[in-house]
């Protein structure tokens, strides 16, 4: 049945293909600096590519085919910065997509994007340093990220943990800027709610064994565990945790929303697990990022940052569409026309992109609703979004409860008291 649907969509796509409006002789370049040589980086790059292909299928930017030039950062700041500079100077891209790690995105922003007047949009850089830089007026409005602030994620996590009725738990966090940040926020939120955090354990990348960390956590005999790790370390740590008899009352971050994690740890141990993520608003539209992704890759989106990079690319391309000229600052200013809360809601499948182009051409604004939801940037380029909880099923990933932005904000405010 599934194959039949795929087959039909494939046929209909082929049938639609001759109707494409772009002429092959004009191209618009967009640069991407992503860690394609890292396990969690390559799917992000593949998703960026998928977004560009989809956009091209719908006619391209201003009728021109979009060419995505992809460079590897090696998660090495100086290599990423050099790649970004080459894209800007040699390939003349007006928009940079990337990077993933904050430690790479930041020097690109300060030494390439801002000086060269290039818009930079990242899927996953979560560091609070960016907000600080924007507040100081140093980003010149050129910086955006589709990563919902860790503040929101942490609140959703704490809400879920509280609702589950756990009285105490341990936290495992990835020892990088994202992990340190969310680990600290969740801990603070839980303590405000009266949940005891028995231990907060940093998990460093690439350790020969994680048993010492797991044993350390087991010692406090916690009722539950909160896990903010990436798949590779997450799988290693959780296999160890479960085999040593750790509790299966798990709450995990969106970074582990991946079939790889489910299959490698085993669904039979993840029955009591709940995850948190940011969500698309519940609208009438049946289309979803997951459906688009499945169509392109024939599997569920798996791993951190995939809906985020999809949105980053789409928003950048739509902003280029509406922008009067293709210069960085003008495109950056045009983003607000794409993410206008009062605009027409648009989901960026092929029809949606075509509709968006038409509306924008008439001088109307749209409200972009993509993989991570209705993205609205604040003045510092940050987004907040509704949240949801999810868990694994045999077939895929099931979304459970939906938590509105209002609920999250109310919750955050209640914690401050």
């Amino acid at each position: 049945m599934k194959a039949l649907i795929f087959g039909l969509t494939a046929i209909s796509l082929v049938a639609l293909a001759p109707g494409l409006s772009y002429s092959a002789d004009c191209t618009t370049k967009v640069g991407a600096v992503l860690p394609t040589s890292v396990d969690w980086g390559r799917p992000i790059a593949a998703t960026a590519r998928m977004a560009v292909d989809l956009y091209n299928k719908a006619g391209g930017v201003k009728g021109c085919k979009v060419e995505l030039i992809l460079r590897d950062t090696q998660v090495d700041p100086k290599v990423g910065v050099d790649a970004a500079k080459a894209l800007v100077d040699l390939d003349k891209v007006p928009v940079l997509i990337g990077a993933v790690s904050s430690g790479v995105s930041m020097p690109i922003l300060t030494s390439v994007s801002v000086p060269s007047n290039v818009m930079q949009i990242s899927c996953c850089s979560s560091s609070t340093v960016f907000t600080g830089l924007a507040k100081d007026g140093k980003t010149k409005g050129l910086w955006f990220r589709t990563f919902t602030t860790s503040r929101n994620h942490a609140a959703v996590a704490a809400k879920i943990i509280k609702a589950k009725g756990y009285n105490n738990l341990v936290i495992f966090y990835k020892n990088d800027d994202w992990g340190q940040d969310i680990g600290k926020l969740v801990k603070a939120d839980l303590e405000a709610l009266g949940v005891t955090v028995k231990a907060s354990i940093a998990i460093n990348d690439g350790q020969p064994s994680y048993r010492a960390e797991v044993v350390e956590a087991l010692k406090s005999n916690p009722e539950a565990a909160y896990v903010a790790l990436y798949p590779k370390e997450g799988i290693a740590t959780m296999r160890e945790w479960i085999s040593l008899g750790g509790t299966q009352n798990l709450v995990v971050a969106n970074s582990l929303r991946s079939e790889e994690f489910r299959d490698s740890v085993g669904i039979k141990y993840l029955g009591k697990m709940v995850g948190h993520d940011s969500a698309a608003p519940r609208t009438a539209s049946a289309a979803s990022f997951t459906a688009l992704y499945k169509e392109a890759f024939k599997k569920e989106p798996s791993g951190p940052g995939l809906p985020n990079i999809f949105d980053a690319v789409m928003i950048a391309l739509l902003a280029m569409e509406v922008s009067p000229t293709l210069s960085g600052d003008v495109i950056a200013r045009s983003v607000s026309k794409v993410t206008d809360p009062n605009g027409t809601p648009i989901f960026p499948d092929e029809a949606g992109i075509k509709q968006a182009s038409a509306l924008l051409a008439q001088g109307k604004t749209i409200r972009y609703q993509g993989g991570t939801g209705a993205v609205t940037f604040d003045q510092y380029g940050d987004v907040s979004a509704p949240g949801l909880s999810w868990n694994f099923s045999e077939k895929g990933i099931v979304e459970l409860d939906y938590i509105t932005s209002e609920d999250i904000n109310e919750f955050i405010n209640s914690l401050k008291k």
């Binding site: 040589s37 890292v38 396990d39 390559r42 020892n175 354990i201 940093a202 998990i203 460093n204 690439g206 350790q207 020969p208 064994s209 994680y210 048993r211 010492a212 960390e213 044993v215 350390e216 087991l218 010692k219 798949p231 590779k232 799988i235 290693a236 296999r239 479960i242 085999s243 040593l244 008899g245 790889e260 299959d263 490698s264 740890v265 085993g266 141990y269």
Partner: protein, 303 residues
């Protein structure tokens, strides 16, 4: 505490196996081989391939042994992989190191080996992809030996530890009882003199690569059983292996074994004294202390 001790010994036994080959090469060929850890990951992946091949050819082999997650096909695969990895080590030496050995200083060899490591690591990822693999997706549960103090032991762990000890013991007898062992000793003490006495140096070098590669393959598989098989294995393990060799004293095989255990213990005991964020630094700080007392490692010869 006791738990950390036991876990440290397990990780240590894997490091020891890898370190034996490394210390032999460092001593005989006088250079720090940064590509040695890639032999662990090569061995682990080759085993993975043979394991899947054998399972599909002879389904009966996919039966697990006792309470272990180990299958018969995996054991055969390890043996095959030892040979393949050893031969690969010889080929790498023949392609690269042999050509630089005679004409330049040890540092040229070191950084040629760094280049080789980059090539091998990324070729592996090109073939097998970036995502880690598992020999078996089943999780075997630990046995609770005691509740207070909490002691949990996995059968796999005990098996890996025993196997590592058996391999080391066999190796010990080879070194101390056979002509090959004597020849090896002679070569490492004085290559020129040993040649006069009829030891064929070129053959010895090949044998050293073969043994080093074989042991590395076993260590890689044991690491994979305990953790995951990933193309980054070499990168993650290379420094721990060097640390084991250095702390034991370059050239001392027994030193490498002790060094491996020491590094394993240090990283597992680390959390008793420092927050887990500082764990990567602890083994090295312990090495720093040991070296400031014994500058050529625990069993190293003073020159």
């Amino acid at each position: 505490m006791i738990q950390n001790l036991f876990d440290g010994i397990l990780v240590g036994s894997i490091l020891s196996l890898g370190a034996i080959g490394l210390t032999m090469v460092m001593h005989m060929l006088r250079f720090a081989n940064f590509s040695h850890a890639e032999l662990l990951s090569l061995g682990a992946y080759v085993t993975f391939v043979f394991d899947k091949l054998l399972e599909s050819m002879v389904p009966a082999l996919s039966q697990t042994i006792g309470g272990l997650s180990l299958t018969f096909s995996l054991i055969f695969a390890i043996i095959l992989s030892m040979g393949v990895t050893g031969v690969s080590a010889i080929i790498i030496d023949w392609l690269v190191f042999r050509r630089i050995r005679d004409s330049a200083g040890p540092l040229s060899m070191v950084f040629a080996s760094f280049g080789v490591a980059l090539i091998v690591r990324n070729l592996i990822s090109l073939i097998f992809g970036l995502k880690p693999k598992l020999y078996s997706e089943e999780i075997t549960f630990a046995v609770r030996v005691s509740l207070d103090p909490l002691i949990l032991i996995k059968l796999d762990q005990v098996f890996v530890l025993c196997m590592a000890l058996v391999i080391m013991l066999i190796f010990h007898f080879v070194l101390s009882r056979t002509t090959f062992g004597y020849a090896l000793k002679a070569v490492s003490e004085n290559p020129t003199l040993s040649q006069i006495n009829g030891v064929r140096l070129a053959l010895m070098i090949r044998l050293i690569w073969l043994i080093g590669g074989g042991l590395a393959a076993v260590a890689g598989v044991f690491y994979g059983l305990n953790n995951q098989v990933s193309f980054l294995m070499g990168k993650d393990l290379v420094l721990s292996l060097f640390a084991a060799v250095i702390v034991g004293g370059i050239g001392s095989i027994y030193g490498a074994v002790v060094g491996g255990f020491l590094v394993g213990l240090a990283s597992n005991m680390a959390l008793l004294i420092l927050p887990s964020g500082y764990k990567p630094a602890v083994p090295f700080l312990i090495i720093l202390i040991i070296l400031s007392i014994r500058p050529t490692g625990l069993f190293g010869e003073k020159k």
